[in-house]
Amino acid sequence: MDLIIILHAGVATGTVILFATLGELITERSGVMNLGVEGMMLLGAMAAFGIANSTGNAWLGLLVAMFAGGVLAILHGIVVIQFRADQVVSGLSLTFLGTGVSLVLGEGLSDAGGVALLPAFDIPLLSAIPVIGPIMFANQSILTYLSYLLVPMIWYYINRTRPGLHLRAVGEYPAAADALGINVFRQRYLYVFIGGMLCGLAGAALSLAISPGWFSDKTTAGLGWIAIGLVIFAQWNPIRAALGSFLFGALRRLILDIQGPMVLFGVLRNPFFYDPYLGFFLQMLPYAFTIIVLVIGSREAMRKRLGAPAALGIPYVRGERGA
C-alpha cells in the first residue's frame, strides 16, 4: 500500500467528480439547482464514446459530449426558468431522461473495441517535484491537467470579474440584479448550459480517459450524486471542490489497496486483510460522508454560514420582490 499511488489514483478518478462538481457549482451559483448531473454525465459519456468510436477522433467526441450535456441542461432550464417548475422534480426527471436517451442511442456501443482515447502523459520538470510530482504531474490524463487550469480560472471568474459578479448577483438577489439591468433569465440559461457542458465533460472524461468504455447505465455508477453532495461540502467554492473531489477519489482507491497488506505501519494487524466483510463498511464511507454533509448543509443557519446562494432553487418572477 503506497500512499502516493493511492493519491495518484484519487486525482485521476477525482477529475471526473471534479468536472461534475464544478458544473453543478456554477449552475447553483446562478440560483438554479440541477439534480440531473447523473443523466448529463451518462449522455456525455455515451456521446463521447460513440463519436470517438465512429470518427476515430476523441477530441471531437469530447466536444460533442459537452454540447450534449449542455443541451440536456437547457431542457431543465426551460422547465425551471421559463415555466418556473419545481427544480428538484425537473432535475430528477432529467436524470431519467438522460439515462434513457443514453441507453437507446448507446445501443451496441458496449461491443466497440479499439476506440480512440484521450492521452495520458508526464509533465516535464513538474513531475520531478518530490511527492507532488508523482501524484499530480506523472501519467495523468490530459483532462486532469486541464482541470488544474480550470479550477483557478473558474474561481477567478466568479470572484474577480464583472461577468462573475453578475453570476453571483442573479444567484443571491435576482431582483436587485434585474434592477441593475442584468438579464436574469439570460444569465441563468447561460450558466445552466455551461454547467451541463461541464457535466458532459465529466462523462467524456469517464468514457474516454479515466475508465474507458461504454457500460450502459452502469458507466457513471453514482458519481454524479457524489458531485451534488460535494458542492455543499465545497461551500460553492471551486478550490474546495477540487480538494474534495480528489479526496473522494483517493478514498475509493484506499478501500481496495488497504486489503493488500497483512500488517499496517509495520506493527498493526490489518483487519481489512483478515476480514473481507469489513469492505462493506469502507465502501459506505463516501456515502455516509455525503449524508453528513447534506444534513449539515440543510440547516438554514448552517447553510447561510456555508455560503449557499440566497436565491438557490427559487424561480425568478419579474416584478415580484426577490428573496
Partner: protein, 404 residues
C-alpha cells in the same frame, strides 16, 4: 432560499438513488411504467427472458441475450422477447407476472434475486414453465433452476495464468472478487488450483470489490492489484477492466462472462457462458410438455461453458501464443476431456487439496460433492456439507474470518 421540504427530498434522493443505481435499477419513481412488457406472437411458442442489466452490458446479461438469440435462430416455431434492467424483488415479480398474463409459454429469469418472485408467480400459472438461473429452488413441476459449473473454465484459465506468470518471471496472480459468498470462493479456488498445476510457486492476491458491475471500481481494483506487483489479474465481475488496465501496465488480464469481453491484446482468455444450447434444450423440452422443474447444474460437455480462444472457431489470444507448448497442450487436453464429459467440477475439487493455512481440506482419492461446492459450513439443514466452501487454496494470500 430552498425551503426545508425541498432539502428533505434532496437528501432523500442523494441517499436513495445511488443505492438503487448500484442495485441495477434505472429509476425509483418509474415503477411498472418503466418496463415495456413485450407482446407475444400468435401461433408461436413464446419465450421471455428477464435481465438484471441492459441486454448489451458486455457481461452477464449480454451472455443471456446471446443465448436468447440462439434460441430464436435454432428452435423452430419459437418467438423470443426480453425485459431488461429489472430490479430484483417486487418489481421483478410484477414483470414476471405481466409476462405470464401476456401469454408467454416459458419464462427465464436470470438473476439470483428473481428466485422467490419467480417461485411465487410460477405457483399462480401452473401451465407456464418458469426457469430461474443461478438459484437453488424448484417446485418439481413448472418451476426449476439452472446453473453451470463455471469452476471448470476458471480452473483452465488458472492454468493459463500460472503458465504466463511463470514465463514472465513474476509468479503472482491477482483475483478481483465480487462478494464473499460460496460462489466467489469456489471460482477463486478453482482458479488457484489450476494455477498451481502450471506454476507451483505462484501466489494469488485478492481484492474484494463488493459489486458485480461497476466499471470505475473494477478498473481501480485491477490497478490496485497490478500496482501491488501481480502479473495477471482475473475477475469475477462483468467489465473487461482487468484486461484494459493490463494493457496500460504491460501486464495480462482475464475477463469473464461474455465471449466478446476478451478484446484487448492484453487479454489472455475469458471463461464465458454460452447459454444458447442450454436454453434451446430447455425450450424444446418445454415445447414438448416434458419440462419438469428441478435442479439442473451443467458441466462443460453440454456446450454451456466456454474458454475464449480455445473453443471451435476461436483463435488463441496473442498472450497465449508464446506460452510453453506443454502447458497449452495440457489446457487443450483437459478442455477436450471436459467437453467429452470425462472431467467435471468434482475432478477439479478432488483431493489432495491443502488450504493456505497448511491444513488438508480433502485427502487424496476423495472428492467434493455438490453440497460442498456451494455452501459455507455447516450447510443447509438436510443438506449438510462435509468439506464446504469456506477456505482459500494453497497459494492464496488472503484470509477469511472465523464463522460464528
Amino acid at each position: 432560499m430552498v425551503n426545508r421540504k425541498h432539502l428533505f427530498w434532496i437528501i432523500a434522493l442523494v441517499l436513495i438513488v445511488p443505492v438503487l443505481v448500484s442495485c441495477g435499477q434505472a429509476a425509483p419513481a418509474e415503477e411498472e411504467a418503466a418496463y415495456q412488457i413485450p407482446d407475444i406472437e400468435e401461433g408461436m411458442f413464446n419465450v421471455a427472458f428477464v435481465y438484471i442489466g441492459p441486454h448489451d452490458d458486455g457481461g452477464w446479461s449480454q451472455s443471456h441475450d446471446v443465448g436468447r438469440q440462439y434460441v430464436q435462430d435454432n428452435v423452430d416455431g419459437v418467438h423470443t422477447a426480453y425485459v431488461e434492467i429489472v430490479a430484483e424483488g417486487a418489481d421483478s415479480e410484477q414483470v414476471i407476472r405481466s409476462l405470464a398474463r401476456k401469454g408467454f409459454d416459458l419464462i427465464f429469469t436470470t438473476s439470483f434475486g428473481y428466485m422467490d418472485p419467480t417461485e411465487t408467480v410460477a405457483g399462480e400459472f401452473p401451465d407456464i414453465d418458469f426457469v430461474h438461473v443461478s438459484g437453488y429452488k424448484a417446485n418439481g413441476t413448472n418451476f426449476g433452476n439452472v446453473m453451470g459449473a463455471m469452476e471448470d473454465m476458471k480452473y483452465l484459465a488458472g492454468m493459463l495464468a500460472g503458465s504466463r506468470a511463470k514465463l514472465d518471471g513474476n509468479p503472482r496472480i491477482g483475483y478481483m472478487a465480487t462478494f464473499p459468498i460460496p460462489e466467489e470462493l469456489r471460482l477463486g479456488n478453482a482458479f488457484a488450483l489450476g494455477m498451481k498445476v502450471t506454476c507451483p510457486e505462484c501466489t494469488m492476491d485478492v481484492r474484494w470489490i463488493n459489486t458485480w458491475h461497476d466499471p470505475v471500481i473494477e478498473k481501480e481494483a485491477a490497478a490496485s492489484l497490478f500496482d501491488a506487483g501481480v502479473q495477471v489479474v482475473f475477475t469475477g465481475a462483468d467489465t473487461p477492466a482487468s484486461a484494459d488496465v493490463a494493457e496500460e501496465k504491460g501486464k495480462w488480464g482475464i475477463t469473464y462472462d461474455y465471449y466478446g469481453s476478451c478484446k484487448s491484446d492484453a487479454c489472455l482468455t475469458a471463461p464465458y457462458w454460452n447459454w444458447g444450447p442450454i436454453y434451446a434444450d430447455i425450450t424444446e423440452r418445454s415445447m414438448a410438455g416434458e419440462y419438469v422443474g428441478g435442479w439442473e447444474y451443467f458441466d462443460a460437455e453440454t456446450g454451456g461453458l466456454g474458454l475464449y480462444g480455445f473453443m471451435e472457431g476461436e483463435e488463441p489470444m496473442p498472450g497465449v501464443a508464446d506460452l510453453p507448448a506443454e502447458d497449452v497442450q495440457l489446457v487443450k487436453d483437459t478442455l477436450a476431456a471436459m467437453l467429452a464429459g470425462d472431467f467435471d467440477r468434482f475432478d477439479v475439487f478432488s483431493g489432495p487439496i491443502t488450504d493456505n493455512q497448511g491444513n488438508e481440506i480433502i485427502a487424496a482419492g476423495k472428492s467434493f460433492v455438490q453440497a460442498d461446492l456451494d455452501q459455507f459450513p455447516p450447510g443447509a439443514e438436510g443438506l449438510e456439507c462435509e468439506y464446504c466452501m469456506y477456505w482459500w487454496a494453497e497459494g492464496v494470500t488472503a484470509e477469511l474470518p472465523e464463522l460464528e
